[in-house]
Amino acid sequence: MTLNSVPSIRLTRIIKASPQRVFDLWTQPQLMARWLSPYPGEVRCVARAELRVGGRFKLEMRSDQSGCEIEGAYVAIDPPRKLVFTWSGPPTGQADTLVTVELMPIENATELTLTHEKLPTADLREGHGIGWAYMLDHLERAVF
């Protein structure tokens, strides 16, 4: 990858659960709320999801100090193999990015491949007026 190409990341993991279980973890609000929040410690996380193409999901996270929201829309739904959705909020700098989750059954487990594309470039971030404070806020909350 060169520094000028559109940035994207790809991760692969073996999850010790069926593809259906993993698909549910991505799409059922009461399960989404239990692992998708980037905050450590006591956090009230509420998730909503309208699981149809064009439907939206939203995660609202509140702790005593801070809060944030992540939301997006479903682009493709193929249970329990594939889910494509837009994703906006930390850590994307509120820009609409695209996440693809692919689930391949392997023996007693699922190979999960996550691709996160259309990450905002420096130019786009500046265009959205996203500054240092936001970036640091995010780093503090979600990375450390």
Partner: protein
């Protein structure tokens, strides 16, 4: 400096710079210094005021920030002014590291939840 990383710089050097940026930002005092500098250029003495630590201790934090390329220093007579290097977090690779870390941590949490759900189901 992170801003100057480009062609002709090895992957190892690039990742060493990123490590320096993350190490610099991992400390709450250094994040607070960066936040103060977000309002504009400042003298070392001004920056040190809000912290309950010696000027020397604050200076050490500032040196870490300078080494990482996040902060730069300008000398004017006896005064040393510090400011944020505005291009230092514009590196696309930095962004990718942030997002990659985010998902790795979330997937760690997913794996913990998978185990938790199995326990809950066994109890039923």
């Amino acid at each position: 400096m992170i801003a100057n990383i480009g062609k002709g710089v090895s992957q190892n050097q690039r990742s060493a710079h990123l490590d320096a940026v993350f190490a610099a930002l991992a400390d709450p005092t250094r994040r607070a210094i960066i936040e103060s500098l977000g309002h504009g250029e400042a003298r070392v003495t001004e920056l040190a005021k809000p912290f309950a630590m010696s000027l020397n201790a604050v200076s050490k934090h500032i040196r870490v920030l300078e080494t990482s390329g996040l902060v730069r220093r300008r000398k004017s007579g006896r005064d040393h002014f510090l400011s944020i290097n505005p291009r230092s977090l514009d590196d696309v690779e930095t962004w990718i590291v942030v997002v990659r870390r985010f998902w790795n941590q979330r997937l760690d949490a997913m794996e913990r939840l998978v185990q938790q759900l199995e326990k809950e189901e066994r109890k039923r």
